[in-house]
Amino acid sequence: MKQGPEFKRIEDNMRSGQLAAHQFLGTDTRSLKDIIRHDQLVLEPLGITNQDIANRMRYFTEKAAGGLGLQVVDDVFEVEREEHKGDIPCPFADNVQASKSITRVKNLRTGRSVSWSDLNIHLVDEHGFFEGHGAPFRVDPAEFVEVLEIKASK
């Protein structure tokens, strides 16, 4: 899929080390637009939107932020927050900054865990961007749907 110069500029920014030591696109060689589109194709048959995923991430982040250690949420999820000072700007250059803190959730039914940074919530919600394959903060949509037990909102 072709992408305009604006997306190309954002993609170049993401592949550089300007904003973070890791790259948002990881080892993924696809264009930014293709990465976003392919993740949407994973979600469409499930009837789940990127906003559904972001809302669930936000729910657990708020639960984890309320405590200073491990917590069990809804009897099923063990949540923990690793707080770090400082913010990181959104690579889409929309003047949004998010904390560098990380939320971890373990599904006690399956033993599977996922984690994300506060910026991931914004990237998923506003830009439908789950990061590229091989990126340390990649939010794999199918995995998140399973581990966080996300249901379609409509």
Binding site: G17, H22, Q23, A65, L68, H84, G86, P89, Q97, S117
Partner: protein, 365 residues
Amino acid sequence: MTVLFTVLSLSILATVLAAIVVLADYKLNDYGICKIDINNGARSLEVNGGSSLLSSLASQKIFIPSACGGKATCGLCKVTLVESVGPVLPTEEPFISEAEREAGVRLSCQVKVKQDLKIRIPDEFFNIKQYRTRVSEIKQLTHDIKQFRFQLLEPTTIDFKAGQYVQIDSKPYGKVTEAVSRAYSISSVPSENNIIELIIRLVPGGICTTFLHEHVNEGDEITFAGPFGDFYLHEGGDELIFIAGGSGLAPIRSLVLDILEKNLEKKMKFFFGAVRRRDLYYLDFFRELEEKYDNFTYIPALSGATPEDEWDGEQGLITDVVARHVPDAERRQAYLCGSPGMINACVQVLTKIGFSRDAIFFDEF
């Protein structure tokens, strides 16, 4: 033939237009030499226009505090512009209050020097220097925290107050092509003025912590600017309540050692919160201090201890532990260093105990 001619013509036209744009950019963005007057003539600088005020001042050895290295994410690099150079930018808005906006306060990293400027900064900023150092020791303290010891090379000594911080400069590595500077609290004692020690936790994806943890070796040369900050011992308080988590132990260690060294008549209680046993460090160090000094009590606490931790010390959230050990705010001050969440929770608990806001100290970064 016509197609070839058209393509050739368009290519030449595009090249000419690109050259005009480059030339115009060069000409229009050449701001020449700009004068910066600081504190009504206390210092006067001449800089090449076009860079940020923060970096222009740094190029003339005037160092403004900045924990994010000029990315408008920390809000520390405030200066007052005596004459306005334009509206506050959207990137600055979260950090500038209405009163500050009216007073002309701006983030110096977001102000581009395009003309002569008159600014005001606190006088103590003139004392901040840049130091060249050699990394003399690196110690792994926990799975994600390292201690770095820097031998000062130029200047050879530093004058700082326990609790203050410095800004370390990183260097390009891997795909990171730009140097950044980040703020870290000093953990060593001011009397050891030819070195500084820093305790630094690896921030996943963090440009500077990744540089320090993964790309710096003993013997390397590193520069920093400092000292900065007002997180130091303040007047008043017979008993000092120190609360820290993670790498927040750093300035507390400096404060405790400094107070003990100076034989100040103050009681101290140091609460250190961690999740599991593996997150604790300097355990024996502070236990030995506790045995040696009657006025120092050390209370480490785990919030998520498991049987394999074999932990028989305090358990629970650090806020609950503090509430159990601090009966009231009478003649007490609290010094906090840790994550924003920990600091917010501790301020709430201390306020409930009776501490006024001006008896609670912490760094705003």
